[in-house]
């Protein structure tokens, strides 16, 4: 019993991490139609910026409020980089999908190499509050607090994103834009600003995932974002591009599947199952779980 609880909660934690990475990816794809391979870079920026801030930014630190400040700084940095990328590199290429893929691929290579050039290839220990290293007992299972933190963060981000989409004017514009981009402009709204905004949100969510991933992994390294990205892509595709809620479902499914199969099956089977799930979902329902019906 406690094993099941443990696996379920840690699986959710893993799913939460995937969701944090995937939500931004999904939004960017849904509204702006950009398959963003540089998303892992935003993650790395968030993680390194948080790491840097904890030591160097006045007021920030590894514990308590200082940690919050450090994470906030990381998230801000991620958002900023994302906005810059959108304005400088993506904007001139809207509607040229293949070129966008290339630019984001190039960016992910160059960006990760830049992180490595600046901070070295070795993992750096990540500043984190002591309590995140401890466990909480839930129904006899020792659940890591870092995992719980991820779950809470993911729920907050999900809630926040949904609330943002639901209750703010920009959220309204984004929701409307995913439905019909053209008509939004016909109401006198500059959709490109909304694109920049979703990039900022995507960058911020990725950076948060980077920072919390740092807490979870205990270190940061330049390639971390890239390795998470592949699962994030799988989550986005399973969930249906553009749907935040779909991503959430898919992330939970993927996290739990991986965790349980890894325990009850043999090693590595978890990853294979996830990939299998992706193939099955796509073959049966090419638009993903919650995706829009596609033409063609």
């Amino acid at each position: 019993m406690s094993t099941v609880v443990l696996l379920a909660l840690t699986g959710l934690g893993l799913g939460a991490l995937y969701f944090l990475v995937a939500s931004g990816l999904s939004l960017v794809f849904g509204l702006a139609d950009v398959l963003n391979f540089a998303h892992g870079l935003f993650l790395g920026v968030g993680a390194y910026a948080t790491w840097w801030a904890a030591d160097n930014l006045p007021g920030a630190g590894a514990d308590g409020f200082g940690f919050v400040v450090a994470v906030a700084f990381g998230v801000l940095a991620g958002a900023l980089v994302a906005v810059l990328v959108e304005l400088v590199l993506i904007r001139p290429l809207y509607s040229r999908t293949i070129e966008q893929v290339l630019v984001t691929v190039g960016l992910s290579l160059a960006g990760v190499a830049l992180l490595q050039a600046t901070w070295g290839a070795d993992p750096r220990p990540f500043p984190r509050p002591a309590w995140t290293r401890e466990v909480t007992s839930v129904l006899g299972a020792n659940v890591p607090n870092a995992g719980l933190l991820l779950i809470i963060a993911a729920v907050l981000v999900l809630g926040g994103l949904l609330a943002f989409l639901q209750f703010t004017r920009y959220g309204l514009i984004i929701r409307a834009g995913v439905e019909n981009r053209e008509m939004v402009t016909a109401l006198g709204i500059d959709v490109r600003k909304a694109f920049t905004l979703v990039f900022a949100i995507g960058g911020a969510a990725a950076a948060l995932a980077g920072a919390l991933g740092g807490v979870y992994f205990g270190n940061v390294s330049p390639g971390q974002g890239g390795s998470l990205l592949i699962f994030a892509f799988i989550v986005v595709v399973i969930g249906g591009m553009g749907s935040v809620v779909g991503s959430a479902y898919a992330a939970v499914a993927v996290g739990l599947l991986q965790q349980f199969v890894n325990y009850y099956g043999t090693s590595g089977l978890g990853d294979l199952c996830v990939v299998g799930l992706l193939a099955v979902v796509l073959l049966l329902r090419p638009q993903g779980l919650a995706g829009k019906v596609a033409t063609a």
Binding site: T10, L14, Q116, D122, R133, V135, N219, S267
Partner: protein, 376 residues
């Protein structure tokens, strides 16, 4: 200056006063860049030490060519072929096991000396007549680990390792060394890409081992240790693992003090002449400095005794004993295993300040791997 030439000619080294060409193919960039950096620092210190600061063997200057392989065997092979084509008879380096394994056959095919670096894979030992190693191998790690449980008979040992060759080698070594001594050995394996370790920790805990041997490399290590700690694995049994480079020490966090470390090297593990010389050059000595240092000593020996004749170099190295950073090393003639001291260590400290202290030193003979058949 266009000219015609044969596509199959290679430059020949030679002449008495011509420099001794040594090619160093190692990771300057890529994920193992910092291992590579230690290696090259160690190598330069070792060269200085072995040539008494002259950088010369006899009248011949040692001319180093450094090439970055970025951890990619294909690049390393290209570099090796390039060097060999230019008349280089001695190649050293190989930060990654995959690189060492692919460069070794090239050395044999072309009859040049190859001295593998930090690459830990057992497969380099006995790979072929021309291949030597200047670092330790996984098997020596495992023998050191065995020393933690004393009499192995009737004990229950679990190996926790990542999927892949590194994990396979460690599992096999544990089965041979500790299992061979009477323990029952089982294993828990996880994908190297795993990010969440709870299922594996649960499996280990359910197995209730007397000794847990962990073979894990890579950036996910801290998460793995934390999970083992949180799930009570570290508290419930003796856990042994290898001590990685200093930079990784803080990432063990609280788990660090609960682990018994086997160590290849850390600053202060030995107090030999060579260690002092090395420390004087590089400041704080780290895991892979001694490998570079030993490599340089071997290179000088080979050049001294062998001149330009690779077979003579091989002869000169086989069975050679020398004093290096770790103490006495000997190159076993049969399979070119490098017998060397190994250490038991403890880690203490917090935050970013950690220190390792040696608990016990095992001699080269105590940790000697079984002789393997020379393959080529």
């Amino acid at each position: 200056a266009t000219a015609c030439g044969s596509p199959q000619e290679t430059a020949s080294g030679g002449g008495d006063a011509a420099p001794v060409k040594v090619g160093l193919v190692y990771s300057q960039s890529g994920p193992l860049a910092s291992y590579g950096k230690q290696y090259i620092e160690g190598f330069k210190a070792g060269l200085d030490y072995a040539t008494k600061g002259t950088g010369k063997v006899g009248d011949r200057k040692i001319e180093l060519t450094e090439v970055d392989d970025a951890g990619d065997p294909a690049k390393a092979v290209s570099a090796a072929k390039d060097l060999i084509g230019k008349g280089t008879k001695i190649i050293a380096g190989s930060t990654a096991s995959g690189v060492a394994l692919q460069v070794a056959p090239i050395a044999a095919q072309n009859k040049v000396l190859f001295i593998s670096g930090p690459a830990a894979t057992d497969a380099v030992t006995g790979a072929n007549k021309y291949t030597f190693r200047s670092g330790r191998q996984s098997y020596q790690d495992v023998v050191t680990a065995k020393s933690f449980i004393g009499d192995a008979a009737g004990k229950k040992v679990v190996v926790f390792a990542q999927d892949g060759a590194f994990g396979d080698a460690n599992e096999a070594a544990v089965k041979a060394v500790i299992g061979g001594a009477g323990a029952t050995v089982s294993s828990v394996r996880a994908p190297a890409s795993a990010t969440e370790f709870t299922p594996f920790a649960s499996q280990i805990k359910a197995a209730k081992p007397d000794l847990l041997f962990v073979a894990w490399a890579g950036t996910t290590a801290p998460a793995m240790w934390q999970t083992l700690d949180q799930q009570g694995v570290l508290a419930s049994t003796t856990v042994v693992t290898g001590l990685d480079i200093r930079a990784s020490w803080p990432t063990f966090g609280a788990a660090g003090s609960k682990i018994s470390f086997l160590s290849h090297y850390f600053d202060g593990a030995s107090d030999t002449e060579a260690a002092k010389a090395l420390k004087a050059k590089v400041g704080t000595v780290d895991l892979f400095h001694p490998d570079g240092f030993a490599a340089a000593q071997m290179v000088v020996r080979a050049a001294q005794e062998g001149g330009d004749d690779v077979d003579k170099m091989v002869k000169a190295l086989e069975g050679w004993q020398f004093d290096s950073v770790k103490g006495q090393m000997s190159i076993r003639a049969e399979d070119h295993a490098l017998l060397q001291p190994m250490y038991q260590a403890k880690l203490a400290g917090s935050g970013t300040e950690f220190t390792a202290t040696a608990q016990k030193t095992l001699t080269g003979d105590e940790t000697a791997p079984p002789v393997t058949q020379m393959k080529g």
